[in-house]
């Protein structure tokens, strides 16, 4: 048989990647399918399964706690994704200027991203500790903004804020890194042309920098959205009382009356929403 070079190359390519495609398929597709399958059953602790149709979904959609978790998740997502992107952008713009010790500062900025979650979580819990924490010391004793001490992490409402702050602090270095690498590749003459066209610093930012950063920012926000919709340890370790969907699922699946079928239905819903979200985002924002 006479194959063109391109055809032969693509055949060879398929042969190379076939094993990994197989493994990945099993590792990713199988759990997802199994999850969907499980969500139609009432799973007993003994392992027996009883087909119950859409009952798990009915229960989920009439559960007020689910909607609460959904709202918390949306707040968490918006806060962390927007927050870490904006902070990352601002720091990148700053670090793109020249000043003494810039290289040292650039490296130090990456620290939160390197640090292991478990250790920095303790640090943060200490900061907000109601008795010995720095936060209460500052607010109550030094600045005297408030007369009483608060447990910001103890209260689920303010704990959400702390969890968001923590995520921004931990993950803005990633945004910063991606953004600054793009910033450095923007051609200087575009800024000069914009200056000749009458743009000041803000005009140049809007008309040159932002369009150049558009896809980096878009991709960054997409990645962060996906990661954070499934984020568990950062939230759970710092403030277990903040119930985003993954944590809500965890409580449903592994605590109290353990109900795997119900938990599976939550994941399926979450997965469906995520898939839709990504689909529209990729189409509209990234224009793939």
């Amino acid at each position: 048989m006479d194959l063109s070079i391109a055809q032969r190359e693509s055949r060879l390519g398929w042969r190379f990647i076939a094993p990994s495609v197989g493994v990945i398929g099993l590792l990713i597709i199988y759990p997802i399918l199994y999850n969907i399958y499980l969500s139609f059953f009432d799973v007993k602790l003994t392992g027996d399964k009883l087909f119950i149709g859409l009952a798990n979904y009915q229960r989920l959609l009439s559960d007020a706690a689910f909607y609460g978790a959904a709202i918390t998740t949306v707040l968490y997502l918006v806060g962390t994704v927007v927050g870490s992107t904006i902070i990352g952008l601002m720091v990148a713009l700053l670090m793109n200027m020249t000043f003494p010790f810039r290289n040292l500062v650039r490296t130090l900025i990456l620290l939160p991203y390197f640090a292991p979650v478990i250790s920095v979580v303790f640090g943060w819990q200490f900061i907000f500790d109601p008795v010995n924490g720095i936060y209460n010391h500052l607010v109550v004793d030094v600045l005297k903004i408030s007369s009483s001490r608060h447990s910001l992490i103890g209260n689920p409402n303010s704990a959400l804020g702390v969890v968001i702050l923590f995520d921004i602090w931990k993950h803005f270095p990633l945004s910063y890194m991606l953004i600054i690498s793009k910033l450095q590749s923007i051609n200087k003459d575009q800024y000069e042309a914009a200056a000749m066209d009458g743009c000041g610093p803000i005009g140049r930012f809007v008309h040159v920098t932002l369009p150049e950063l558009y896809f980096v920012l878009g991709t960054l926000m997409l990645l962060r959205m996906i990661w954070n919709l499934n984020k568990f340890e950062d939230v759970f370790l710092l403030a277990p009382n903040v119930e985003t969907l993954p944590i809500f699922t965890y409580y449903a699946a592994f605590t109290g009356i353990i109900d795997q079928g119900f938990a599976a239905s939550i994941s399926v819903v979450q997965f469906g929403v995520l898939a839709l979200l990504i689909y529209f985002y990729v189409k509209k924002v990234l224009k793939w």
Partner: protein, 365 residues
Amino acid sequence: MAGIRLENINKKFGKTEVLHQVNLEIGDGEFVVLVGPSGCGKSTLLRLVAGLEDITAGNIFIGDALMNRIEPQHRNIAMVFQNYALYPHKNVRENIIFGLKRAHAPKDVIESRLSKVVNILGLEDFLARKPAQLSGGQRQRVAMGRALVRDAKVFLFDEPLSNLDAKLRNQMRSEIRRIHREYQTTSVYVTHDQVEAMTLGERVVVIRDGYIEQQGTPMEIYLHPDNIFVATFIGAPSMNILDARLFDGYVELEGCKLVMENGTPGQHRELPKTGLPVKLGIRPDFFIDRRHAGDGEALAVIHNARIDLIEPLGFDKELDVQIGSQLMKVRLDLRTQATEGDTIDLCVDMRRTHLFDIDTGQRLQ
């Protein structure tokens, strides 16, 4: 509109000084062309006027206002960049009108100026394209349009036609002339191209290594170059610079006695004219085949020039000829019948030749 005045401009990049004590005055509405070899500082000079570089020392005035510390966006200058510098995310139309929009020009003004420029530059079919979808020459035309559309005090052009084919370049040259005649905007134009310099410039400024070598009208520069550099840089093919000796009333070139008529440069020098070594400059275009020289003309004759090579150019023939040990380029019209290897007698009007000091390269008056 406004004139430009550069006073004692110095520009250093780090330790290297690329412009030295540049003084230049450009009148309101004047069209000045800067020419010079690559790396001589032409773009740098433009960028200083635009405010894209800080001057190291000296003053820049536009109109009567001192510009040294004024940001480029406040100078109201339009510029065509050597490497186009188009906005990659905007289409051609948006690229062109961006400056007008920033200046809050009314919609109808924007539209009428846009359509005029687009028409002149032949960009009608490309308005919706992004710069990446254009050829180099098309991009250059967009860059040109972006400047011409503006109602700026000063236009700066950095080799704006370098990427166009010969036909389009001729056409654009005429258009630039027409536009300048209409708007009378003070313009500074950088080019390598002789023809552009000669045809566009009301004044030509020749720069070498960050110094202004000479400035004047194109014909002044062409007919009375101040030194060998200017003489050879302006005009194509380049002026022949030959080793000769200056005697009382004549120049001796490879054994030929070239008598200087009244009006020959260097004729009346009070120097010991006993064989002073000089450089003799003769443009290739100013030779005449002796067989076709008119009778009445007072011409000096170079005998027995040997023809090494003939390049027919259509109306003209370009010859490499050898006299003694020296080579020259000669341009004769198509009547010349001589072939390669022949010898030929060449006539030259000594009033159109130039004598230069052998050491300094400066013109001998």
